[in-house]
């Protein structure tokens, strides 16, 4: 970490006075390559419970998934209602990204389709993205049950799960995506 602001705080008189004022209010030092820099420390404490209300992240191990449940059978109707206008009936053939694919797609073929079934490494990503972003005309409007149902439907039309398989915070992270191990990390260290 390189910073070039520390000299400013010590070598000019008016700024030194300001620094003193800051010291009186909230002292805080931040170590940099050029030595410590005074920082105001104005962050406001928030409880983990309050922070959780902001939190939309869903991780591959299921962390962040809410309580709820849904099946592809339930999701099919919802998909027709809220998603098909852009993604096409059964997730194909309209203006938006094709969601229906197949897990048997050969990714080493000449022109492979990088669809959900063949390419996506984690089922939890579907839940995460659908909840935060879909439908694009009303993002964040789906209930947890609805997101589970649409997620189940997308997994089903890609041949990953059965039509009646119920997706929950326990079952979704356990869904086996065929391309789970197909990714090589380039600029980050993959944990062993």
């Amino acid at each position: 970490m390189k910073m070039e602001v520390s000299a400013m705080f010590t070598k000019s008189l008016p700024v030194a006075i300001l620094a003193l004022v800051l010291l009186v209010v909230v002292p805080g030092e931040f170590a940099t390559a050029d030595g410590p820099t005074l920082v105001p420390k104005l962050g406001k404490a928030i409880t983990p419970g309050a922070a959780a209300k902001w939190d939309l992240s869903v991780f591959p191990d299921g962390a962040g998934l809410p309580v709820g449940h849904g099946t592809a059978a339930q999701g099919e109707k919802l998909f027709e209602e809220k998603c098909a206008v852009c993604h096409g009936p059964e997730g194909i053939g309209a203006s938006a990204e094709e969601l229906r694919g197949g897990k048997t797609e050969d990714l080493s073929s000449a022109s492979p389709d990088k669809n959900i079934g063949a390419y996506w490494p984690f089922a939890t990503t579907l839940f995460d993205f659908t909840r935060r972003a879909m439908p694009m005309t009303a993002p964040g409007s789906l209930s947890a049950d609805e997101v589970y149902a649409v997620t189940a439907y997308m997994l089903h039309v890609n041949g990953i799960i059965g039509k009646e398989d119920e997706m929950t915070r326990d079952t979704l992270p356990k869904v086996n995506m065929p391309n789970r191990d197909g990714f090589i990390w380039i600029d980050a260290k993959k944990p062993r």
Binding site: V5, F59, Y119, D128
Partner: protein, 434 residues
């Protein structure tokens, strides 16, 4: 010797000794002699000039005979430059999902005007009230904290003058046939700005990072809550939360009021409308780091977390869509950049890569910043094929297209940085060739 730029002395035999085949001259000729172009005007500029040619006597132009316009509270480009705009490619149904491309072929120098900086939005540009915007830092920290915008502006700041490039820039280069498009429409998802704001290390230090933390998740306040994961090491090294771009508060389309800036790393990681930093011990595997912004290779394996933008260059003049007006001296101009450091060298070829000459690099040459390069060319009126090839200070050399494709195949989509070739025809037209 004094030089009259309007009547340069003829080039001497020594000066005309080429630096490489095809008419490339020593890069220092323009500096030494202050040469002017021989009819070296590009077609686009001619068209604009024609607008005002009709009636004006240049010896006594009308704008010298009446008072000019009054002051303006916020300056705008000349109306004669109204055609220099971003070109937009967006979803027909969801207008806010797409990109706008910087018209690089019309720009000079290293800084991109803020209003022409490329955009990539996934679901529109939110209009955020800065008084209502907060940044949350939570997760593996001792003290979860929120920061208001007026508080953030009191923190120590630093600036990065850097390029920003979308990982999907130049993706039509993977096509089998060379697309016939301008530099901006093919390669314009890269721009260069000064970004100023607060080092994230300071804010994370205030929150108190737990020992097991290794990643963060950054999230925007747009209508897809755009989210990506970044290694904590990069965040602590040089990332800032930018409040200013080119000296003024961010524009809405560039992340107002707060944007993560990760110098040298692909554009999607520079999360706009930043609202949340979650400190974690693993990546989230978000949609935009798994199904997108990853590169499928010929063996079926996929490159993931390809954060760094490798060295790249392209010639902006002459380039596709421009027309040279007859033989004579031209200046070949272009841009080079690398996410790994400084541009060390740019070589230019006028004979399709058979011979190369080194271009002059415009100072200052900065790490992870646009570097403008220039080299004079004496066109004999015959066909020529231009290429530029950048080398950065790590020694990395921008690859030829066939080399990149041999390594990555043609299904990677992202991170296309191969050498770009422009063919100049005898009639002066310029087209894109592989």
């Amino acid at each position: 010797m004094s030089i009259n730029p309007n009547h340069p002395a003829p080039l001497t035999t020594d000066e005309l000794t080429p630096a490489a085949n095809g008419g490339l001259l020593d890069r220092r000729i323009f500096l030494k002699r202050g040469l002017v172009f021989a009819s070296a005007v590009m077609a686009g500029e001619i068209a604009l000039a024609d607008d005002k040619l009709a009636v004006v006597d240049p010896a006594a132009p009308p704008w010298m005979r009446e008072p000019g316009q009054p002051f303006s509270t916020y300056g705008r480009p000349s109306p004669y430059e109204k055609r220099i705009i971003r070109s937009i490619t967006a979803n027909k149904i969801v207008a806010g999902n797409g990109a706008s491309w910087t018209p690089l072929q019309h720009l000079e120098g290293m800084v991109t005007p803020t209003g022409l900086h490329f955009e990539r939005h996934h679901n529109g540009v939110p209009q955020i009230d800065p008084g209502q915007h907060q940044l949350l830092i939570h997760g593996l920290v001792q003290r979860p904290l929120t920061f208001r915008m007026d508080d953030l502006t009191r923190y120590p700041m630093r600036s990065h003058l850097i390029f920003l490039e979308c990982g999907g820039n130049s993706n039509s280069g993977w096509f089998e046939e060379a697309p016939q498009a301008t530099v901006g429409n093919m390669h314009g998802l890269v721009s260069c700005s000064e970004w100023s704001g607060v080092p994230l290390a300071i804010l994370l230090d205030e929150a108190g990072i737990e020992a097991k933390a290794t990643w963060i998740v950054a999230e925007g306040a747009d209508a897809i809550a755009m989210n990506v994961s970044l290694p904590l090491e990069k965040i602590m090294d040089d990332c800032i939360v930018a409040i200013y771009q080119n000296g003024e508060k961010l524009r809405p389309e560039h992340g107002y009021p707060l944007r993560l800036i990760a110098p040298g790393w692909e554009g999607v990681l520079n999360v706009k409308w930043l609202r949340r930093i979650q400190v974690t011990n693993r990546p989230m595997m978000a949609r935009n780091e798994t199904s997108k912004y990853t590169e499928l290779m010929p063996d079926g394996k996929t490159r993931q977390f390809t954060f760094v933008i490798d060295a790249k260059s392209l010639i902006t003049t002459p380039s596709h869509g421009q027309t040279l007006r007859g033989a004579g001296v031209y200046e070949i101009r272009g841009l080079a950049w690398s996410g790994r450091g400084k541009i060390k060298k740019v070589e230019v070829s006028a004979d399709g890569g058979a011979t190369w000459a080194e271009a002059a690099l415009q100072e200052p040459v900065l790490s992870r910043c646009f570097t403008r390069f220039r080299i004079p060319w004496n066109w004999n009126g015959g066909p020529a094929v231009f290429k530029s090839r950048a080398t950065d200070d790590t020694g990395y050399v921008q690859p030829e297209r066939k080399v990149l494709i041999a390594e990555r195949g043609r299904n990677g989509y992202f991170h296309y940085n191969a050498v770009v070739s422009w063919s100049v025809d005898e009639d002066g037209s310029v087209s894109h060739v592989y």
